[in-house]
Symmetry: C2
Subunit: 603 residues, 2 copies
C-alpha cells in the first residue's frame, strides 16, 4: 500500500480544456497558434507519464521521511526527489508557460494549469518547489531589469536554479506592513546592490538539494522607508553570487536555520531563513524601484493564488482517484438492491456513492473553474483587442479569490471524504488517504488565508466596481442556464433550472454586498466567507452545466461512457450540491450585528 | 507552546445541565437524590482540576511520543500516562456513572457526560482507555452472570483493570456478519469455558501498561454457528486469568502483535491482537447465551456511540478554547472600525469572529444535545412511570445517531476552524491546533461510521416507527420556538422565528423520509446523510434556543456576561448557521436517481 498509483484524468482535462474552457479561443491568439487540441493532448499525455511513474511513487515515502536539516545550513530532501527533479527539469517541464525569449515554452496558462495539476496531484510536496519558483519567474519577467533577466531568469525558467518567496516574518504574516527585515544601500559593492539583514519564516524550499542555486525574492525595508506597506522594497538574494560569465561565485550570507515540523507536505522543507547573520548583510539586488516591493509582489501573488487553488483541487482529484479504487475493491455489507447476494463492493452502497459523487463533482467543477480562470489570464494578456483584454482581466481578477478560497476548501472537504470512504483504514497512514487530508489542509492558509480571499473578493473585486464584474459573470451563468433549459433534453433542463436558482441566489447576495460596501462594510466583511462559498458553489455549477451541454453534443474523441458520466455528474451536482447554496443567502445578508454584539470577554 | 493550557468550561457545563437539560428532573428519581446542583458543581470542579492540571499537560507530548511496541507483546504508553491514570483511578473517576452495587458512584449519565467531556477535551488519546472500558462494564452489567460480575465488574468499575472491545477483523469492519474468529467449547477446562482463536484489528488499548489486567470482550463464532450476525457469540478473554481468591493467575494466550501507525490519537495504542496463536486457544468465558453476541454488543454500542459523539464535541471545545486564547493574543492587521489605531488582535476582525462564533455556537449546541441525550438515558432507565421511560428511551434512541454523527462532524469542522484561526502557525505541530484536527478525524469513522449512523437514523429511528419519535421531537422544537416567539424579547423572537423555519424544514424532510421508507428505500438512503446533518443543525439550534430562554430569565449563580453571551451565541447560530439547514431539504428529497444512474465504470 505504501505507494498508491495515480491515474491521471487526462480525458477530463482534455475535455475541460477543449469543450468547457474552449481552448480554440486561445489558439487564435498570437504566440498560441501551435497550442491546438492535438498538441495539448500530446503534452498532457507526456506529463501524465512523469506524474504517475516518477512523482507519484515517491509521494508516500517522502511524507514519511520528511526533508531534513542534516547539518547546519544543509537540507536533504527525501530519497528520489533529486532524481525526480532532474527528470522534471530535463524534460523541460519547468518552462511550460513562460516567455520563449528566456527559454520558456510559451504555452497558454490554461494548458499549464492542467500540467501543473498533475504535479500537485502526484506529489504536492514536490510540486511546491516549481510553484514557488514560478512566483520568482513572474516577478522578474514583470519587474526585473534586462540584466537581471539575463542573469537569473533563464536559469529559473529552465529549472536549473529555483526561486523562493521571502515575505513572512514572525510578526508579519497576513499583515506584510509589519515587515522588519532591513536593507541598506552598499555603494561600496556597486549600484543597486544592498545589504540585507533579518529573519524570514515559513519559506518553502528556502534551502534544498535539488538545484545548483536558490534565488530568494526578499521583502525588506530601507532605513528611511515610510512605515507600512509603502516602505517595503523587493530584492533578489541568491544563495550563491553569480560571476560575470554566469558561473557560480561566492556563497552569500543567507542560511536556513530551522525547519518547521508540520502536519503535512512534509517532504517540502519549510525554512526559517537568516539573512546577514554572519556578515554586514547578505548581498541583495534591488528589483525595480525602491519602496515598490509590495506592489510588485501582488503581480505575482494573484497568479500564485490561482496556483494554490489549483493545488487544492489537485489534491481533491488525487483523493478521489484513490477512493474510487478502494471503493470498488473493498467488500463490506450487502447491497440494498441485491439483498440475497453476498456482500458487495462498498461503491454499491448509496452513502458511499454520495461521497464519491460529491468528491467527483466538486473536483471537476473546481478543475473547470481553475482552467477557465487560466484561459482568461491568457486572454487578458494576449488578446489583440484592448476591450477584450480588459474584460478578461476583470474576470480573472474576480475569479482568483474564488479559485483559491473555494478550490482549497474543496481540497479539504474532498480529501476528508477520501479518508471517510476508506473507513478505519483511512485513518491509518499506510493507506495514503490520510496524507492527502493532511497535505490539503495547508492550502486554505498560505498565499493569503481564505478569510483574506473572501475579503479580497468582497471588497476589491465586487464592491470596488459596484458589482460590475460580478454581474457580468452572473449574466454568463444565466446564459448557460438558458442554454441548458432550451436544450430540449429533460436532464439538461433540470440542471439549467437549478443553475438559474443558484445564479439568482448569487445575484441577491451580490446586491446585498454591493450595498453594504457603502452602508455597512463590517456587515459585508461578516458575510464575506459565505459569499465566497456561494460564489464557488454556483460558479462550479455553471462549469459543470457547460460541460453537460458540451457532452450532450457528443464531441468526437471522447468515450461515450465518459460523456454520459459528465452529464450525470452535472446532474448530481445540480440536485445534491447546488441547492445548498440557497442556505447561504440568509447568513450573508444578515449583517454583522450578531458578530458585533459579542464583547471580547464573552468568548 | 508544547503544552497548551485547557480551561474547562465549567460554567457552561453547569448551565447546560441545570438550565437547559433540567437536571432537577433527575434528582427526583430513585438513586439520584444526591445529584443536586451543588453536588454536581463540586464534582465538575474537582474533575476540572484533574483534566486541566494532569491530563491536558501530557496531551501534546503523548502525541509526539506515541504508544510503542517496545518488545514482543509489550506496549509502553507515553511518559506520564501511567501516573495520570493512577490519579484518575485513585480519584474514583472511573466509577462515576456505574452501579453502586459493584463499587460505582451511581451518578446520572447526564453528569457523567460532562465529566467525560473533560477527559476527552484534555487528552482524547488518554480518554479512550476509560471510554472502551465503559463498554465492557456496560456489557457485563447487562449480560454477565453474577459470578462474572463478581470476578470482573468491580475491578473494571474501579479502573484497576481495563476493558476492551474486540470486534473488528480485516474482512469485518462495518459488517460484523463477516467475523471469523473461532470459539470452541472446552469442557476439559470447565463449564462455559471456551478456546478462542483468531485475529482482531483496530483494538484500542488492546495492550498497555496502565493497569494490572486487561479484560477483552471478544466476538467469535462457534463451529456449528449459523452464518451472519446470528452466529456470533461474546466472550470475556482476560490478559491474565484470575484465581479463586481474585488474585491474578496464568498469562492467557492473547497477545498484541502490531500497533497501527495512525494520523492522530497517537498516544493510544491501536492494536492487532492474536488469540490462541501459541496454544490450542486463548481461554474465554461465554457471556450470556451462545450466538447472542451481536445483540449484546448493541446494548453497549448505543451508549458507546453517544460517548463518541461527546468526544467529537469535546475536541471541538478544546480547539475553541485554544483558538480564543490565540486570537486574543495575536496582533495582525488593523481593525476595520479603528483604522487609525495600530494593528489589532485578530479577534477583532469580522471573519475571525465568524470562525470563533461558529466554533463556539456549534460546540455549545452539540454539548447540550449530548447532555440532553444523557438525561433521557437516565429517565429511560430510572423513571418510575413506564410510559415516561418508554418515551425517554425513544428520544435517546432517536438522538443517538445524531449525537454521534453530527457531533463528530462538528468536532472535525470546529477543529479545522481552530487550525485556520491560527493561520500558518496552526499548520505547525508545535502549536497543538493541528493535533486536535488530526485527533478529531477518527471520530466520524469508529463506533459505526457516520454513514452508518445516518442509515441507523433514517431506517431504524425514523422509518421503523413511521416518524413517531421524530415528530414528537419536532413538536418539542416547535414548542421551544413558540416559547421564544412569545417571550416579548426581540432577540429571542428572532431566534424563535429561525428555529421554527428549521423545524419546518426538518418536518418536510421527515415526511419525505418516512414516505420513501415504503416507496423508495434507496432514495431514503441517498438522503440519509444530509438528513442527519439537517437534524443535528436544527436540534442543536433548539438546544441553544432553550439556553437563550433560560439565560433571559437571569438564573442565579451565573455571571451576567456569561448569560448575555449565551443569548448572543444562540442569536449567532440562529442567524448564521440555522438557515443553512434550508439548503439541505432539496438534496434530501431529491431521491436516488442521480446516484443510481451512475454506472460503476463512470466513476
Amino acid at each position: 500500500m505504501s505507494s498508491v498509483p495515480y491515474t491521471v484524468p487526462v480525458q477530463d482535462m482534455r475535455f475541460t480544456l477543449e469543450q468547457v474552457v474552449k481552448l480554440e479561443d486561445l489558439t487564435a491568439l498570437p504566440g498560441f497558434e501551435e497550442a491546438g487540441a492535438d498538441m495539448v493532448q500530446a503534452v498532457l499525455e507526456e506529463a501524465a507519464k512523469l506524474a504517475s511513474s516518477v512523482l507519484a511513487p515517491i509521494n508516500f515515502a517522502g511524507d514519511r521521511q520528511h526533508s531534513k536539516l542534516v547539518a547546519p545550513g544543509v537540507v536533504q530532501t527525501p530519497e528520489g526527489f533529486k532524481a525526480a527533479y532532474d527528470q522534471y527539469r530535463d524534460g523541460g517541464w519547468n518552462a511550460v508557460p513562460f516567455d520563449p525569449e528566456y527559454g520558456g515554452q510559451g504555452l497558454p496558462w490554461a494548458v499549464a494549469f492542467a500540467v501543473q495539476e498533475m504535479w500537485q496531484s502526484a506529489n504536492m510536496a514536490f510540486g511546491l518547489c516549481p510553484m514557488l519558483n514560478q512566483g520568482a519567474v513572474e516577478l522578474l519577467q514583470a519587474h526585473g531589469s534586462e540584466e537581471q533577466k539575463k542573469t537569473w531568469l533563464e536559469k529559473l525558467i529552465s529549472g536549473h536554479w529555483t526561486g523562493t518567496m521571502n515575505l513572512t516574518e514572525p510578526q508579519a504574516g497576513s499583515d506584510l506592513s509589519q515587515v522588519r527585515a532591513k536593507a541598506e544601500r552598499a555603494p561600496d559593492l556597486g549600484d543597486e546592490i544592498y545589504r540585507i539583514k533579518g529573519q524570514k519564516i515559513f519559506i518553502t524550499y528556502g534551502e534544498h538539494d535539488l538545484a545548483e542555486n536558490i534565488v530568494h525574492m526578499v521583502l525588506a525595508r530601507l532605513p528611511e522607508a515610510p512605515e507600512g506597506t509603502k516602505g517595503i522594497s523587493l530584492f533578489i538574494v541568491p544563495k550563491f553570487l553569480v560571476n560575470e560569465d554566469g558561473s557560480l561565485g561566492a556563497r552569500n550570507d543567507v542560511q536556513v536555520v530551522a525547519l518547521e515540523g508540520k502536519m503535512g507536505i512534509n517532504a517540502s522543507p519549510t525554512c526559517t531563513m537568516a539573512f546577514g547573520d554572519e556578515s554586514e548583510g547578505a548581498v541583495g539586488y534591488l528589483v525595480g524601484a525602491e519602496h515598490q516591493g509590495i506592489k510588485y509582489m501582488f503581480t505575482m501573488m494573484n497568479n500564485a493564488r490561482l496556483a494554490v487553488g489549483l493545488q487544492g483541487m489537485a489534491i481533491a482529484a488525487r483523493a478521489y482517484d484513490q477512493a474510487v479504487v478502494y471503493a470498488k475493491d473493498r467488500i463490506q455489507s450487502k447491497s440494498m438492491t441485491r439483498p440475497k447476494d453476498p456482500p458487495a463492493p462498498i461503491i454499491e452502497h448509496p452513502d458511499v456513492r454520495r461521497m464519491l459523487l460529491t468528491m467527483k463533482a466538486k473536483t471537476e467543477a473546481a478543475r473547470a473553474l481553475a482552467y477557465y480562470a487560466g484561459k482568461h489570464l491568457d486572454l487578458g494578456s494576449r488578446h489583440p483587442d484592448a476591450a477584450v483584454r480588459a474584460k478578461a482581466q476583470a474576470t480573472v481578477d474576480l475569479l482568483t479569490p474564488v479559485v483559491k478560497g473555494w478550490g482549497t476548501d474543496v481540497g479539504c472537504e474532498v480529501s476528508s471524504l477520501g479518508v471517510q470512504v476508506h473507513g478505519g483504514a483511512g485513518y491509518v497512514e499506510e493507506t495514503g488517504a490520510a496524507q492527502h487530508f493532511r497535505d490539503a489542509r495547508i492550502a486554505p492558509i498560505y498565499e493569503g488565508t481564505n478569510g483574506i480571499q473572501a475579503n479580497d473578493l468582497v471588497f476589491r473585486k465586487v464592491i470596488r466596481d459596484s458589482g460590475a464584474a460580478a454581474k457580468a459573470f452572473i449574466s454568463d451563468l444565466l446564459e448557460t442556464a438558458a442554454g441548458l433549459e432550451g436544450s430540449g433534453n429533460a436532464t439538461l433542463l433540470g440542471i439549467g433550472a437549478r443553475l438559474k436558482e443558484g445564479a439568482t441566489a448569487l445575484e441577491t447576495a451580490t446586491t446585498y454586498i454591493v450595498g453594504a460596501g457603502q452602508s455597512d462594510p463590517v456587515g459585508a466583511a461578516a458575510g464575506a466567507y459565505n459569499y465566497m462559498t456561494l460564489f464557488g458553489l454556483v460558479a462550479g455549477g455553471s462549469m459543470l452545466g457547460k460541460a453537460a451541454l458540451a457532452a450532450a453534443s457528443r464531441p468526437a474523441g471522447f468515450d461515450a461512457q465518459y460523456l454520459d458520466g459528465k452529464i450525470a455528474t452535472a446532474r448530481f451536482y445540480a440536485e445534491q450540491i447546488l441547492p445548498q447554496a440557497q442556505g447561504l443567502v440568509a447568513p450573508i445578508t444578515q449583517g454583522a450585528a450578531s458578530l458585533n454584539e459579542f464583547a471580547e470577554a464573552m468568548f
